[in-house]
Symmetry: C2
Subunit: 341 residues, 2 copies
């Protein structure tokens, strides 16, 4: 059933039917009701391909997800981020088109999405401080929202959490408990968020006159295996840390495994604070929080980013929107006083 047939069956023109369906005021209320009823009865859905062509809008937004160069890994936070965003897109009638590309091919992917007009805007995730995607998207005039910040942050819309403050506070918490040798198991430090977290960590140490020990700082893709391997190596070293700062719950699991294997317990011999993106399948809250953690739900961020992007698409004139979300620190069962003091 298409518009033409529907119009014919109602003995109305396509114009009137289209207007009735799309809520234009030029059509009598009674006619509109008649049209709506007939559309429903015939299970009529306007053909989205035709509509997209006629309106010149794709009614779709793109998420370009990059596979890491090493492990072809797809960052586990993306799925929750998309869940949040997807809800908003669905509500607003937008499609989510997902491009999964190997590292290094993002540019091509964005260019293609733009030039063939299959999306009205794109989401940029995991930015580096000086991310080339920003300039690219500005050049081709494609609306976008960055989840995170870049050095060009004033020129575009973004949403980020207060990474520096969060890790500064987390470090302070451990310092207050008497810990002095605190290891940081960071994400990949080429990424903006990881740099900020390191900065917060370093600032907290230096504020107490403690020089950061490079041996205690690591950065890599945030997997359980990485947390395990690094924690194990550090604990077996000659001057092991008494506390860990992990940048994701997955890494924290790995640390926990290494600690447990040595017959130590988290919250007693070894303390651990992690950042928790509140991923749906990594719940930290069965009966009270297990990990002491800086928390900020990635899913809510996804929803808000999606709203911002749709706002940008619908009102192209408006300037960039920027939001910095605070992060709260909840104490769980993995932190305790430093046993050495």
């Amino acid at each position: 059933m298409n518009l033409k047939e529907l119009a014919a069956s109602l003995k109305l023109s396509q114009t009137t039917v289209s207007r009735a369906l799309n809520g234009y005021p030029e059509v009598r209320e009674e006619t509109r009701r008649r049209v709506l009823a007939a559309a429903k009865a015939a299970n009529y859905q306007p053909n989205s391909r035709a509509r997209r062509l006629a309106t010149g809008r794709a009614m779709a937004v793109g998420h370009v997800v990059t596979l890491s160069d090493q492990g072809q890994m797809i960052n586990p936070v993306f799925s929750d981020f998309m869940a949040g965003a997807g809800e908003v897109y669905a509500r607003e009638g937008y499609d989510l088109v997902l491009s999964i590309v190997p590292a290094g091919e993002e540019e091509r992917a964005y260019r293609q999405l733009a030039s063939n007009g299959s999306v009205d805007g794109v989401m940029v995730q995991s930015p580096r401080p000086d991310d080339p995607r920003i300039a690219l998207l500005q050049e081709i005039g494609m609306p976008f929202v960055v989840h995170g910040r870049t050095t060009a942050r004033d020129s575009h819309s973004w949403l980020d959490i207060a990474n520096t403050t969060a890790f500064r506070r987390a470090t302070d918490l451990l310092l207050d408990l008497g810990h002095r040798r605190i290891a940081l198991l960071n994400g990949e430090e080429k990424l903006d968020f990881a740099r900020r977290r390191r900065n917060g960590y370093v600032a907290a140490l230096e504020a107490r006159g403690i020089a950061p020990d490079p041996a205690l700082i690591a950065g890599a893709e945030m997997t359980e295996a990485y947390g395990y391997a690094r924690a194990r190596a550090l604990l077996d070293g000659r001057s092991p840390p008494t506390a860990f700062l992990a940048s994701s719950v997955l890494v924290a699991f790995g640390v926990g495994r290494a600690v447990g294997e040595r017959g130590l317990a988290l919250g007693r011999e070894v303390s651990l604070v992690t950042h928790d993106d509140v991923l749906s399948y990594l719940s930290n809250d069965r009966d009270g929080p297990h990990f002491t953690a800086t928390r900020s739900p990635i899913r809510a961020a996804g929803a808000r980013c999606a709203e911002m992007l749709i706002g940008l698409i619908c009102n192209p004139g408006t300037g960039p929107v920027q939001e910095l979300w605070p992060v709260d620190l909840t104490v769980g069962r993995t932190t305790g006083p430093c046993p050495d003091t």
Copy 2:
């Protein structure tokens, strides 16, 4: 730059340019080269909206991902599955449109994708044995591939792994090591794969004359917290299991945590076999496999399912394609002889 302008600049008709670009034989080789060069120079990309309308094909496939009713959880295997599929789609020039819907709204989502013509086919994941989506899609005539099986399996294309055999062999392995009280921490048993796994487990036990103990069997969403809580409860019970069978690495992590907390060690006091989907961020292979596991990479399954789906779309006449993949069992460091024997 659109086709009309490109044609004008070349002093050719739109027809000829279109044909040259799309590889039709009616155009002289030299003309084709000229067109190709001009298109490249002008950075011309055909407008996908127009092309979709003209060809009547969406050049897109849909993945409908359901959020679980309880935790609004998005299954972590989806992201790796999509990574595999996405690669194939990109190669074949298809877009991936992702719908994220709350439990119970899948039907509406599929109907909508179909009736507004925004995709040429869909992927069905996490089927239940008697999944209503199958009949729905068959009724509306939308090509689809099921990742998993259903009771209507003969009537549609699917790809599945040998879940029953895998869990039977995993159970046998534990039985051979002398374990008699083996707990099964299954996925949600309304899902087809979980039923099969339970069947394999039960069959192995019964083959040795052991009656399955309902107290040792659980089914739920496969999270770390679930693995931890169940393992903890079981280990604290009056007749604790000496071995666990987990249906995902995440669950296995939880079991490991509970075991470690009690001062026990995996592979010594307690044995553990898990199914491993080889998720990119849950590597089990840092230096040799950690978990003894039945393994089958979900990502490869995603890629193959995508190929099957595109095949179905391009050759609508052909009958259903079905593939059952074997699962291999690799021994890691989490299994050992039953200490009681």
